[in-house]
Amino acid sequence: MSSEPANLKKVLFVDDNLQFLEMIERLMGKWSEGEWQIFLAQNSGKALLILQEHSIDLAVVDVQMPVVDGIQFLALLNRKYPGVQKVTLSAYADDASRSACLSQGAELFLEKPRDPADLEIIFSTLRELARHKPTSTGFRGVLRQVSLEDVIQMECLNRNSSILEVNGGNWQGRIFIKEGSILHAEAGSRNGESALNNILSLRGGEFNLKPFVEPPRQSIDGPWEFLLMEAARVRDERGGVEVEEPPAPEAQPAAPSLPVPAPPVRASDLVPPPVNYLPPSSTNRPVRIDEMLVCTAKGEVVYDWQCSNLGDRISFLEFLSQKSLQLGEGLNLGAFDRLEMEGERQRVVAQIKSDRGVFFRATRSSVRRNSETGTPVL
């Protein structure tokens, strides 16, 4: 039985230029003094085979490759092998490909050396990166689903109007939300708070947000915060015993089951009031939420509201997860919470937790400017 040295790093180079690969193997193999096991692939197909068979630590990918280029391959790597550190090498280092590579999870974007002597600098950089592989899995950590309460909270906080339709397998429930207030709930033969509590006691099922239409009547009155708290209290009093679900009028195919809802994520946790950042004046607060996305640590969408490009938003959260670790490296800043981004009229917040990523973009009504420079102020 063979055993590998504990510090052995498996490094994969993907490049369609065979001569370049051979030079890499010869020189970097020598410089690494046995610290690296080098794998070579001339295309993404061969690279994927190597990735399946070996636990690769670092993949160095050429950006300009035929058929599947480096950026496409990076995206694939990011999805399939999120734990592999990724670096791109490019002979033509333009801003567009640089940001595309960074967005797709590349830790570094390096220019291909024109002089072989510069290869040693590349090697030193790669060796440092391979040695300091982050231990945290960041955004792609533990899976947990967002609960129904979370979705209701978000709808109410955003003052949305919608119908939350819940499928509990053999029955269906609906919660009507109008401009951030819960107006009506129905589940089987039940209506009102009783139906709402029943829906929120569900231990599995699936839900969908549908466009709002007026309910047959208003059966619920009161602040949504109170209603959710009351539902939680009722659920607690039942001691986690699943409620008797109303019988369905007719048999329906079973919906794919979701895990037990997680404890509610308070929206105030997601986007707490900024400290010393935005002025207290309400004129500069977001007035319109343009899009919002909540996804699991594996990048699965659990809540999407008007997201124009889900793939880009998930990639952005993945980039942020990786970059937040890198930025804090060596500074001991503590756990990363979120990134707030401010523009003249836009506010974008992206939050990364071990189990979820949240993205939201809002538009403000007015901007406060520095009277001297005219630049937006905090």
């Binding site: 940001s99 970059k323 990363f336 919470d337 707030e340 974008v348 973009r361 905090l378």
Partner: protein
Amino acid sequence: MKEEIHNWLTEKMRVTGMLGCGIRCPDRRTFIRSASAQFTPVALEHACRCLSDTFQVINSNRFPVQLVRWIYENYFVYGFIREDGLCLAVLTRRHEGSIQSTDLETIVAEFHSLAV
């Protein structure tokens, strides 16, 4: 240019709550000042590079933003970018001892008018 940036960063280190700051130029030259051995120039330079990467990705996502705030458990890292691509990073505490917002606004205004 180098001296102007150095002088300005040195002056900004006197701002209450400033733990470290740095400027990264579009040509990747980076200038760093740190108030504590905890925040080494190498780590701050690395942070500036991450900040610059972030603005690049933000730009490619077409988010029209000019300033960012990284929020960690104990610290804030503010980032600002000018139209010419010059990036400023400011490190301060998250809770007590943070840079006052008025001081931060002054820093931003000066950064935007910094002649380099």
